[in-house]
């Protein structure tokens, strides 16, 4: 079933300049895999070399953060919208190192 994925501005250059892409999938993980299959240059910007979502990449299904709804196993419906939102944080002093 087609689901709309909103592409963050800096990543549109890797998705044929599209603001949004429609891809199929039964859950969020399948949707994202279809997305990177269609646009392989997105892979490294969304996933680590171990295949996990990068730590600063937050995925929302409509208004819900998938960390609280089943992560990438969260089921999707055809009217859903997936948003890729970067986690934004910082600070003036270097982090303490363990």
């Amino acid at each position: 079933m087609p689901v709309k994925v909103l592409i963050p501005t800096p990543l549109r250059q890797y998705a044929d300049r599209h603001e949004a892409v429609e891809v199929d999938g039964h859950d969020v993980g399948e949707v994202l895999q279809q997305l990177v299959s269609a646009h392989p240059q997105l892979q490294g910007h969304l996933y680590t070399s171990e295949g996990r979502l990068r730590s600063f990449v937050n995925i929302y299904l409509n208004d819900e953060d998938i960390r609280y709804t089943g992560l990438e196993k969260t089921p999707v419906r055809s009217s859903d919208t997936v948003s890729i939102i970067p986690s934004i944080a910082g600070g003036s002093v270097a982090a303490a190192r363990c």
Partner: protein, 144 residues
């Protein structure tokens, strides 16, 4: 790339930093991409959601960030970057900033607030390999 914003927008960011001092302030830079320039058409202040060390850390609340991104899209504006303040610390990215940066392609504007008064502001972009920040020209001379 270069970051272009109106003097009034930079003034608003400086005021935000001063009002939130001694905590860090943060927000979104909204506008458009035009060739080699990121042009700011509006600034969107965000709440610093860091409750453990807001004097030298900031976090966007994820839900508020999602809502702000949605509002920007509805207004036809792009997120071209982010800003935050460094209270009593130079306006240059820290190692912590680097470790928590998002993708290359955004501007990262930092303003130093020294003893409650805004000082220099500098803008940076993240290198493609994420290894360091690169200072970019900041054109803040235009009228709003």
């Amino acid at each position: 790339m270069a970051l272009q914003l109106a003097a009034a927008h930079l003034a608003a960011i400086r005021r935000h930093g001063e009002s939130d001092y001694p905590h860090e302030c943060c927000g979104l830079l909204l506008g458009r991409f035009a060739g080699e320039r990121r042009i700011v058409d509006d600034v969107h202040p965000m709440r610093n959601a860091n409750t453990t060390s807001p004097e030298n850390r900031f976090d966007f609340d994820p839900k508020e960030h999602l809502a702000a991104q949605r509002q920007a899209r509805e207004r036809g504006l792009e997120v071209v970057g982010f800003y935050h303040s460094h209270p009593n610390h130079p306006a240059r990215p820290s190692q912590y900033d680097l470790e928590h940066a998002a993708w290359p392609g955004y501007s990262y504007l930092i303003v130093r607030i020294q003893q409650g008064r805004a000082q220099e502001a500098n803008s940076y972009e993240l290198a493609e390999d994420r290894s360091h920040f690169i200072q970019e020209p900041l054109d803040a001379g235009a009228a709003a």
